[in-house]
């Protein structure tokens, strides 16, 4: 396949969004190439905790945002359930139920308010349950937990199985996957995107070029407001499967903790869930050094990061005190100013976006399908995608915080769009 240079569509990025887009395009009869700087699934797609969470977040959620998210994520979850047949292997999608935990009165108030917002947006899939019920379904938790939001059909999936499943299925349909090929710039003919310049030569596309590079978007398309944000994950030794997982909770470092910084301490999201083999993946933001957070593409962890999550295990999931963490790593999410992805056509003819994900598992497969539909059917998609228009910020100027982490970006979005 190596020396061909002309295709119908070129997808830049070999993660979950890119491989899904390539698969659905190939299924629709297109001659597709995927261009990936490293290996398939080597970015955020292969670095997340595998959580399938239909609507994540707290403070930034409004009725409008919840219904927009649900209009895609709900169908994304349904699509996940059909992928075993579609891709020919088990993507390890399990509907285990998911929790957002309350550890204080404040938490409880916020979570109940979020549930109210979700109900008002017509999302009846969530409920608030008390501490006894939480501990019954998630026995690793101790008496410190006060209750939480339960969504019964959230769960886990294996992002590697999904991404590689799409990549291999696309290849069976004739798609070319060029790994270790770095896209350097887009080749324009007037206002039409005609090709991609890479370190292995130029590639040309007749019917479209799709950006599926998520957090890396700014290097190729600085005009589109997606900022990268580093987040960490750690994997533990094998344990009995936790019946209900994933769980999320908002926590804060205390004096004496590895992550504690006097005067700049802020609450952050701590997440975790069992994998099918019994390993638990947990994660959250790196220890917040305002000066150290300028490289969100640094995929390594520090000793302080390791100690933060070790401490959190003992404090919040005390049954797992003394747990062995096998490995830890970092990965970059892609944030947009309104917490919704950029999907669809751009100001340049033939150039499409499918990027800007902070919660890919429910989104990337369906959004790959919708992007492919858009290109195959001349703008017609099976679900409305207009609200994800990549040009919706064209006339706005964004002052992103200069130094930020996950919490800072969420607060920024909440201040801009939230209550």
């Amino acid at each position: 396949m190596g020396d061909r240079k002309n295709y119908d569509v070129i997808v830049i990025g070999g993660g979950m969004a890119g491989c899904a887009t390539a698969y659905y395009l190939a299924k629709g009869g297109m001659d597709v190439a995927v261009i990936e700087k490293r290996a398939v699934c080597s970015g955020a797609s292969g670095r997340n905790g595998g959580q399938v969470i239909q609507v994540e977040g707290r403070d930034e959620l409004t009725r409008d945002l919840v219904s927009k998210k649900n209009s895609i994520a709900f169908h994304g979850k349904k699509l996940l359930g059909t992928l075993n047949d579609e891709l020919g292997w088990d993507v390890e999608y399990r509907k285990t139920g998911g929790l957002d935990l309350a550890y204080s009165d404040e938490d409880e108030k916020i979570i109940k308010k979020v549930i109210q917002v979700q109900y008002e947006a017509g999302d009846m899939g969530v409920e608030y349950i008390g501490d006894a019920e939480v501990r019954e379904i998630c026995p690793i938790l101790d008496e410190k937990v006060r209750g939480g939001k339960l969504r019964k059909d959230d769960g886990n999936a294996n992002p590697f199985k999904i991404t590689y499943g799409f990549a291999l299925a696309a290849r069976r349909l004739g798609a070319s996957i060029h790994t270790y090929t770095a896209a350097q710039s887009i080749l324009f003919e007037k206002h039409r995107a005609a090709g991609v310049r890479t370190d292995k030569g130029d590639y040309f596309a007749k019917h479209g070029i799709v950006n599926a590079t998520n957090a890396w978007t700014k290097f190729l398309f600085p005009d589109f407001p997606i900022v990268p944000c580093k987040i960490l994950a750690f994997v533990t030794e094998q344990f009995p499967i936790i019946p209900v997982t994933p769980t999320e909770s908002v926590v804060c470092d205390r004096e004496g903790d590895a992550g504690y910084r006097e005067g700049q301490n802020q609450p952050y999201l701590f997440y975790g869930g069992s994998q099918v083999d019994g390993n638990i993946i947990i994660g959250g933001p790196p220890v917040y050094f305002p000066d150290g957070m300028d490289d969100h593409f640094n995929e390594s962890i520090t000793y302080e990061d390791f100690m933060r999550f070790k401490t959190l295990f003992g404090r919040y999931w005390s049954t797992l005190e003394g747990v062995s963490l096998l490995r830890g790593w970092g990965g970059a999410l892609g944030f947009t100013p309104d917490a919704l992805p950029l999907l669809g056509p751009t100001r340049y003819e033939n150039l499409y976006m499918n990027a800007g994900y902070t919660n890919g598992m429910c989104w990337c497969p369906i959004c790959g399908k919708l992007t492919a539909e858009y290109i195959l059917n001349g703008g017609n998609t099976s679900l409305p995608v207009g609200f994800m228009d990549p040009e919706r910020f064209r006339n706005e100027k964004f002052e992103w915080p200069e130094r930020y982490n996950y919490t800072v970006l969420h607060n920024y979005i909440a201040a801009k769009h939230g209550h």
Binding site: R135, E136, P139, I140, L141, D142, E143, E237, Q238, F239, P240, I241, I242, P243, D277, G278, S318, T319
Partner: protein
């Protein structure tokens, strides 16, 4: 079986006798020895069965490194019995595969 008189190490020192429960069966142990040692003396060699093939596993490295001898101890799974001292009244259970969690009361 226990060695009371050793040709080189001499006589076993007198220690307090305690009782632990392994899968519901009460066995004798001595204060200060590991769970694995007490089980070996009682002739219990299978500590758990593997998740996929249900093969038996027991003491292998005996220095806390290999995790082959892990069991559920007082409700806590993944406890390395070779480096965990027996305590009177301890409830030890073998693990079938990964085992299950119990609600912490």
């Amino acid at each position: 079986m226990r060695i009371a008189h050793h040709p080189i190490l001499g006589d076993a020192e007198k220690r307090e006798r305690i009782t632990i429960s392994v899968d519901g069966k009460k066995i004798d142990a001595y204060e200060g020895e590991s769970i694995a040692a007490a089980m070996l003396a009682a002739g219990l060699k299978v500590h758990r069965r593997t998740a996929k093939h249900k093969e038996p596993r027991g003491v292998f490295c005996n220095i806390g490194r290999c995790t082959d001898c892990i069991m559920k101890v007082d409700g806590q799974p993944n406890v390395r019995t070779c480096v965990t001292k027996a305590r009177d009244g301890m409830m030890v259970e073998s693990l079938d595969g990964l085992g299950t969690w119990e609600v912490v009361r």
